[in-house]
């Protein structure tokens, strides 16, 4: 699971009002090469929750993202490379996503987060 996906997900358990961001329990993290596409990154920047991305990136062991970021930083190639690495190349292969409100663990195995709810959570 890339952090792009993590940035889009929340705990949708019935009754949970604050399901985002999901905390990451990392068991196995791998890096996967993705072609660098500045236009895609610039496009995605406005849609990403930066605070959540920076925290998630740190949880996966990559602390090179600034705490806060503004659109003016998109002109910097260095910034875009870091953004690219954090958003698309870091992979949570095994671990879990934890609901910040209830502590419910959504397992991630073979890189696939399992977001399906149990009967009593629907």
């Amino acid at each position: 699971m890339r952090l792009l996906t993590h940035n889009m997900l929340s705990s949708n358990i019935k009754g949970v009002t604050n399901g985002f961001p999901l905390q990451i329990e990392a068991v196995k993290v791998v890096e996967k090469q993705v072609d660098f596409n500045p236009d895609f990154l610039k496009n995605m920047f406005s849609k990403v929750d930066w605070t959540a991305l920076a925290a998630a990136s740190k949880a996966l062991g990559y602390a090179d993202l600034p705490e806060a970021a503004g659109a003016d930083m998109l002109d910097s190639d260095d910034f875009l490379r870091r953004f690219h690495h954090a958003l698309l190349q870091l992979h949570l292969e095994e671990g879990a996503l934890v609901c910040p409100e209830t502590g419910r663990r959504f397992p991630v195995s073979k890189g696939i987060p399992n977001m399906l709810l149990h009967e009593d959570e629907v």
Partner: protein
């Protein structure tokens, strides 16, 4: 400028919408918009002008289309799946004499640049619906000696390709309604489709397949309808084995997919036979994300919107594969009360699911698309319809955020078709729309059983045909495009 557009004689309903989508992709309507001073609501703004050749039926493979330039015409043809070729027409006629007059009357300044002594050329005869011997073809080719070709013939890789295209004489059986008179066209090839894609991507050589994997030709058509292009993000909420996303990735898009069945997205049939390996097989970039999620209860964070450029999918509408959603059948029916999964059993617990009827599935899909598509983004999906008296009900799903731009029918059996709907997002997802979607969501939940029964297309497809319609006891379900019929 008018071009002769010749189609492969298949998927007739899909031909023009594909060309129109590609025209949009290659910016035909942007330039038109600036010319006409950005007139909003002009109904012809996003349409191409089409014309039929004399004596031709709308199902004919021959059409004329108005395109701004050779360059655009070539791009459209090269990217398309159903365009056999786009030609600059030098002349047409009902007889070879009429054709000769027409070609001679075509302005020299159009012709001479392609007839110079430095260039090579080739003439090919293509007759629709009949076979011509090679002597006959050579005689025909020689008869064009009145065109002042200065260059040499090169059959392997000519600079300019000329085509003599003719339809059969009237009355013969070429699968089309008879024409009063045959028509012969002579034109210069501007571009052709790359059908080599299809054998490369054909399903029978794909490693990981499911029972409802989308046939390669159709997947490419869907990707074209969705204006798939490099740098765009395409999502399939019913990803299965990824057959639709493979086509989107081929055209350069980033992809994401979800499925409720975790075995399909996570495990496949082993380490080298899963959704990822289907992309690896063709050297395509892997999907950016795959997840297990329920389209009925999507796990997107609040406030997330307008992230996907296109959503392309084949929803599970219960004929070949039934849809599932979270919540047990008994639970939703009220037979058992709400219950709690014991803590020690939570980890390996397999949540029960219930049937997911067509109406609810489409409602969720439209709501997802309204929220998650960028403005101008496209939702492309199949919608099942019953055929009665050779016609179909054309009341397709509607949504205030969307405009329907194409509905292409593919007939699957005597009684059952699927229609590929292409919708464009034209309005933002507002609070009011979100609220009405929420209310409808609750209504679906309350009327679960009722919807399940009403939405039961499957029983209509498979129930006995009325006795007057023939001896067959059951409606005939033709073989699906992936060669399998699955009825669960």
């Amino acid at each position: 400028m008018w071009y002769l557009c010749v189609f492969y004689h298949r998927l007739l309903d899909y031909r023009k919408p594909e060309v129109e989508s590609l025209a949009e992709l290659f910016g035909v309507f942007n330039s038109r918009e600036s010319e006409s001073g950005r007139e909003n609501g002009n109904p012809e703004k996003n349409c191409l002008q089409w014309r039929l050749p004399q004596y031709h039926h709308p199902d004919s493979p021959f059409h004329f289309v108005d395109l701004p330039s050779d360059d655009i015409a070539r791009k459209i043809a090269n990217r398309s799946i159903l365009v056999k070729g786009v030609y600059e027409l030098w002349g047409e006629g009902s007889t070879y004499e009429e054709l000769e007059e027409a070609i001679k009357a075509y302005p020299d300044e159009q012709k001479l640049p392609y007839l110079t002594s430095e260039s090579t050329f080739k003439i090919t005869i293509d007759s629709f619906g009949k076979v011509m011997s090679s002597e006959e073809q050579n005689d025909r080719i020689r008869s064009f000696s009145y065109i002042p070709f200065k260059g040499r013939v090169n059959l392997r890789s000519p600079d300019h390709k000329f085509w003599v295209l003719e339809t059969d004489d009237s009355g013969s059986n070429n699968g089309l309604p008879p024409v009063d008179q045959k028509r012969i066209f002579f034109g210069r090839e501007v571009g052709t489709a790359d059908r080599k894609l299809l054998p490369t991507y054909q399903l029978k050589s794909r490693t990981y397949l499911g029972p409802t994997a989308m046939d390669a030709e159709m997947a490419f058509l869907m990707a074209n309808q969705a204006l798939t292009a490099p740098g765009k993000l395409v999502y399939d909420p019913f990803v299965g084995t990824g057959s639709i996303l493979v086509a989107a990735a081929h055209f350069g898009a980033m992809t994401m997919g979800a499925d409720i069945d975790i075995r399909v997205v996570r495990d496949g049939r082993g380490p080298d036979c899963n959704v990822w390996s289907n992309f690896k097989q063709y050297g395509l970039p892997m999907p950016l994300g795959l997840l297990r999620a329920d389209n009925n209860l999507p796990p997107w964070r609040p406030g997330l919107k307008e992230v996907f450029d296109a959503i392309i999918c084949d929803p599970p509408y219960g004929v070949r594969a039934g849809g599932r959603k979270s919540g047990g059948r008994k639970l939703l029916k009220g037979v058992v009360g709400p219950y709690t999964v014991p803590d020690d059993k939570r980890t390996d617990h397999i949540p029960s699911t219930a049937g997911y009827c067509l109406a609810e599935c489409v409602h969720d899909l439209l709501d997802l698309a309204a929220q998650m598509l960028v403005m101008g983004g496209r939702l492309v999906y199949f919608y099942p319809v019953l055929r009665e008296d050779d016609t179909i009900d054309t009341n397709f799903p509607e949504h205030p955020c969307f405009k329907l731009v194409a509905a292409c029918e593919q007939i699957l059996s005597l009684r059952y078709s699927r229609v590929l709907l292409t919708m464009v997002k034209i309005g933002p997802y507002t609070e009011e729309i979100a609220e009405s979607a929420r209310i409808q969501h609750l209504e679906f939940k309350e009327n679960h059983l009722k919807w399940l029964e009403e939405g039961n297309l499957r029983s209509a497809v498979l129930s006995p045909v009325d006795s007057h319609s023939g001896g067959e006891g059951y409606a005939k379900l033709e073989q699906g495009c992936d060669g399998s019929i699955l009825i669960d």
